[in-house]
Structures are given as structure tokens and as C-alpha cells.
């Protein structure tokens, strides 16, 4: 639902926007999320997924979350099977084109156990952008005439008061919490993300609270040497967590490629055994390890090094 403007302003008013350190543990940061919150993830598909935060959400047994993301991959499977969410807002939902249609997504949606609220990729992007701009909607020329329009909640159609043309009104989306992964960020929360921008800036501005996981924390002086590289300003951010390899098995631009062999194995289990197989996967890879680093150890150091070498190749071309 589109939130009233005063409600949006009130939240920002209450937020401590001073220049202050926000470095904390993954556990503390994810503790900000309450049951029932709308959590939006940065990145897209299997790129720049804030997987460590998703992993911790599942470990903390969050419930009744609304989960939204531009394109949802294996992160969505894990959140559905763990019971963290029954409502996913996205434009496309499956591990990836070559891996087939997620059997987990199919099971939950076909059995009516969860909702997949489908928006076109651009209209979902415009929802976050409207949210980031503090306006209730953006007019656009998509979704019109389709059955997506008929199923989407809150979308409306108007006749333009200037031209008389028909337009779709894409309603704003202001999530409670955004979780975003970056290559570098300072202790105050100035995010300097490299590579594909996806929708990360808009979701940070649209959400009430923002959790940043970062490959490394750099000093504020480092940020100030390249202020043009900052895409999210510190006062939007509520938590900064240093999590090397925080997207695995997904990729982080310029740092590492996806662990395709791990995703292949996951897909085999997920497509072969459905939610039951994913439950076993969760026990092994999410509930089992004590820390994120223990999880990385399960992925195998050889695999990690290889993915890192391939990931860095972007800068060696």
C-alpha cells in the first residue's frame, strides 16, 4: 500500500542522521529487522545479492516478512522454505535461465502457500524510485493492457491532464528495511559500490532503514578522495557490517564470480527434491555453521580462490 507522506517523513525525522560510526556484527545488524517487516534486497538475480544478510535473517527465524527484489534467485527459495516470507514482490523468480523454473517457487505458489506479487521489471524499479522521491506514484507507459495490470495491487490508470493519453500510475514502494551489499563502505555508511548499479540507490532512499554489508570497510578519508564514487550517503544508513564474500554463492562485481558449481549442486537438490531438499540444504549451509566464515569453509577454499581470480578479471581487460 502507498504510505501517507506524513508517515514517511516522521520516520526520517526520528532517525539519527548525524555523522556517526555504525559498524556492528551481522547478528546485531539483522536484529534491526522485525517480524512482518518489508525487506528489500539489493543487487539483481545472482549478482550483488546480500546473501550474508539473507542467511542471518533465516538463522534469526524471522517470520512473515514481505520480501522484494528486482529479480529473485536462490535467495527467494531459501526465504520461502525457511518460513521467513510468504509474500514475494518481484519481476522474475528462478535461479537462472539455464537452471529451469524453481520447483520451490512453483510449489509455494501453486499450492497457494505464498504470494508472488508480479510487477514488470521497470514498474518495480519505478515503485522504488517513487518511494525514493517521496511521491505516491510515477506515471508510465508499461503494464497497460496486460493481465499483470489486472492482478497488481494498487496500480491505476489515468487519462493524462496534459495530453489526454492513457497512462499507468505505478504506486510508490517504501520498504521497512533495505539490505544492500557493496565492495566498499566507510564506518559511517558512505557506500562506494562498483559495477552494475541495479536498483540499489533507489531502494536505499526508499526504505526507512538500511543495512549495508561490505566486502571491506575503508576509512572516511578514502571515501573523501573519491566522493563521486559514493552512491548512498551515510545518513540513509543504519548499520555497516564487514562481510568478505558476503554474496556467495552469488557474485560480487570485480571481486568474485558466482560459485557456479555450488549453484549447480543446489539446483540439483532443489529441482530433484523440492522444498524437502532445500530444508536439508538449509541445515547444512545455514543453520549448521556457527559463523559466516564457517559457511565459507564449507564452500571450499579452492572454489573461492578460483571464483576470486575470475571475478577480478573484470579489471584486467
Amino acid at each position: 500500500m502507498v504510505r501517507p507522506y506524513k508517515d514517511l517523513r516522521e520516520f526520517i525525522d526520528r532517525k539519527d542522521r548525524g555523522l556517526r560510526e555504525k559498524v556492528m556484527s551481522l547478528e546485531e545488524a539483522v536484529g534491526i529487522i522485525k517480524d512482518g517487516d518489508h525487506v528489500v534486497s539489493g543487487g539483481c538475480h545472482y549478482s550483488m545479492t546480500p546473501m550474508a544478510a539473507v542467511w542471518e535473517i533465516i538463522r534469526q527465524k524471522k517470520k512473515d516478512l514481505i520480501y522484494s527484489r528486482s529479480i529473485t534467485s536462490t535467495d527467494g527459495d531459501l526465504l520461502l522454505v525457511s518460513g521467513a516470507t510468504k509474500h514475494v514482490i518481484t519481476s522474475w523468480f528462478s535461479p537462472g535461465v539455464t537452471w529451469g523454473v524453481s520447483r520451490v517457487m512453483r510449489y509455494f505458489m501453486q499450492q497457494g502457500l505464498a504470494t508472488y506479487e508480479e510487477w514488470s521489471h521497470m514498474s518495480l524499479g519505478l515503485r522504488y524510485r517513487a518511494g525514493s522521491m517521496g511521491i505516491p506514484f510515477i506515471p508510465a507507459r508499461v503494464m497497460m493492457g496486460s493481465d499483470l495490470f489486472l492482478r497488481a495491487p494498487d496500480i491505476k490508470e489515468i487519462v493524462c491532464p496534459y495530453t489526454g493519453e492513457k497512462l499507468a500510475l505505478i504506486p510508490a514502494l517504501n520498504p521497512d528495511v533495505a539490505i544492500i551489499h557493496t565492495q566498499r563502505c566507510d564506518p559511517y555508511g558512505n557506500v562506494q559500490k562498483a559495477g552494475l548499479p541495479f536498483m540499489d540507490q533507489d531502494i536505499a532512499m526508499a526504505a526507512d532503514r538500511v543495512i549495508i554489508t561490505t566486502e571491506k570497510i575503508v576509512s572516511n578519508d578514502q571515501v573523501r578522495r573519491m566522493p563521486d564514487r559514493t552512491s548512498i550517503p551515510f545518513f540513509c544508513v543504519d548499520a555497516v557490517v564487514e562481510v568478505p564474500y558476503g554474496c556467495f554463492p552469488h557474485e560480487c562485481y570485480g571481486e568474485y564470480e558466482p560459485l557456479f558449481s555450488h549453484i549447480d549442486d543446489y539446483v540439483k537438490v532443489m529441482m530433484g527434491q523440492g522444498p524437502e531438499g532445500v530444508k536439508e540444504y538449509l541445515h547444512k549451509y545455514v543453520y549448521g555453521p556457527n559463523t559466516w566464515n564457517d559457511y565459507l569453509e564449507l564452500l571450499g577454499s579452492k572454489n573461492i580462490v578460483q571464483a576470486t581470480v575470475l571475478g577480478r578479471a573484470v579489471y584486467n581487460d
Binding site: 522474475w92 524453481s102 517457487m105 508480479e118 521489471h121 521497470m122 524510485r129 493492457g145 496486460s146 536498483m199
Partner: protein
């Protein structure tokens, strides 16, 4: 020119690449559409610019390393620009994009596509992954190309769900719904090429591939096609086209036929 053997997926890929004119801008999806775009660049359209939904303008893709998604770093290699997803899709709304390249689980006689539900959306037999940017591309790009394997279960009279608008209910219904531009320009299958009749917007046979009879097409189509008296035959894939294609996808990950 040649009778070198090629499979139906390769045939569709080559025919798709030929539909792309030089100097234009195309939104390329993962898999086969991307290969068609690169093939076009390496043959008749060296100044064709590829855009990816992930936020990439004009990348250079390494042969044999075609990424399985257009939203990842290998798609960004040596690009002209990386930009947010919303903004790359908005370039279409401004009018910068000539071609959109789409597929789907089902297509109907008016070129509407379904990639959301098989069966009743309230109680679907299959929940499919969804639109991604397909609805946006089909609403906004100047010309839509659809590449599909030609099967009766895919070529249906009415799609179970309109994810992606073609000409909606035919006639001027697309324009009436608010889409003042665009529409499906060509449907490319392993049997032939198809376009849409000017007035009714019903799908029409434009050409048949070598060795294909109109009966084969009718047999595999779940609705009545407009069939003109004069049906040209397409030129088969050349050795050069096939050679480049196989260099791009040596393991045939994206050019192996999916249907019978």
C-alpha cells in the same frame, strides 16, 4: 548456397539475427536472443548496439563464455556504460530502443505472450518465473521480435495470461489500451517467419523455411493463420553464419532444440 546440416534452434537463431538492421539498438535477453545479436554484429550489422536489462550499454561478450543471465558482471565486459536497471528500461520509453527480443511459454494469434501462468492464474498448473522486463520491452520498444519453437501447445488461440502485450484483442485494441507505439514486428520459428495483418492484427505467414510445407505450419498452430497466396522461402543459414554461431556457443548450451 549450402546444405550444411543445422538444427532447428540454430535455424531460428540465424533467422533472428537477419531481422536486426545495422546501426540500430536492440535489447538482448539471455541465451538465444543474445547469440542472434552478436551474430548480426559479426555479419551484416557491425554497428548494432546491444543493451542488457541488467544495466549495460554496448558490451563485448567473449565467444564461448555467454553468460546465463544478463544481470551479471560478464555482461558488463568492456561496455560503454553501466546504469541502473530502471534507467536502462526507461531509455525505451524515451524512444531510443529499436528492437526488443522476446520469447515465452505461449503466444496467441495477436502476438500476446505468456510467461506467468499455465492454466487458471488463480489455481495454476504451472507458475512460471514471470515477466522480468518483457512487459516493459513489449510496451515500449519500436519493434518486437519473438523467437520460439513452433508447437501447438505454444501457439494457442488465447494465452492463459497476457504477461506481455502484443496486439491484445486485435484491431486497434493495443492503441486503445494506451500503447501508442510498438508491437510485434516479426515472429520467428523453426518453420517460418510470421507478421501481423495491418487491420485485424492477426498473425500472418510471411515466409517458410526451406523444406517446410504450409500444412506443417497449420498442424503445429492452435489457431487460424492468415495465409497469403504468395509464400516466399527463406534463404538457409550460410556456412559463415553457422561457423560464427558455433564459435559463440561451442557447447550448444543455447542452440540445442528444446521441442520436438
Amino acid at each position: 548456397m549450402t546444405d550444411e546440416a543445422y538444427n532447428t534452434a540454430e535455424l531460428v537463431t540465424v533467422m533472428s539475427s537477419r531481422a536486426l538492421e545495422d546501426g540500430k539498438i536492440v535489447f538482448g535477453g539471455a541465451g538465444m536472443p543474445l547469440i542472434s545479436c552478436i551474430l548480426a554484429q559479426r555479419t551484416h550489422a557491425p554497428r548494432l548496439t546491444i543493451l542488457f536489462e541488467g544495466g549495460v550499454i554496448g558490451p563485448h561478450i567473449v565467444p564461448g563464455k555467454l553468460p546465463p543471465s544478463t544481470n551479471e558482471q560478464r555482461c558488463a565486459r568492456r561496455a560503454n556504460m553501466l546504469l541502473p536497471i530502471t534507467d536502462i528500461l526507461l531509455l525505451q520509453q524515451r524512444g531510443y530502443v529499436d528492437y526488443g527480443f522476446l520469447g515465452g511459454a505461449q503466444i496467441d494469434q495477436y502476438g500476446n505472450l505468456n510467461s506467468s501462468f499455465i492454466g487458471d492464474p488463480e489455481k495454476p498448473k504451472v507458475r512460471l518465473p514471470g515477466t522480468g522486463g518483457a512487459n516493459d520491452i513489449a510496451s515500449l520498444a519500436s519493434k518486437i521480435l519473438v523467437a520460439m519453437h513452433h508447437e501447438k501447445k505454444r501457439f494457442v488461440e488465447k494465452v492463459d495470461f497476457i504477461t506481455t502485450p502484443g496486439y491484445l484483442q486485435g484491431g486497434n485494441s493495443r492503441e486503445k489500451a494506451g500503447m501508442l507505439v510498438g508491437g510485434v514486428y516479426q515472429v520467428i520459428t523453426h518453420l517460418g517467419l510470421f507478421d501481423f495483418e495491418e487491420k485485424t492484427k492477426r498473425m500472418r505467414v510471411a515466409a517458410l523455411h526451406p523444406g517446410v510445407r504450409i500444412e506443417d505450419v497449420k498442424e503445429r498452430t492452435g489457431f487460424e493463420l492468415v495465409i497469403p497466396d504468395n509464400l516466399p522461402t527463406t534463404t538457409p543459414p550460410s556456412p559463415e553464419e553457422l561457423h560464427i554461431l558455433r564459435e559463440l556457443d561451442p557447447e550448444k548450451r543455447y542452440t540445442t532444440p528444446k521441442g520436438d
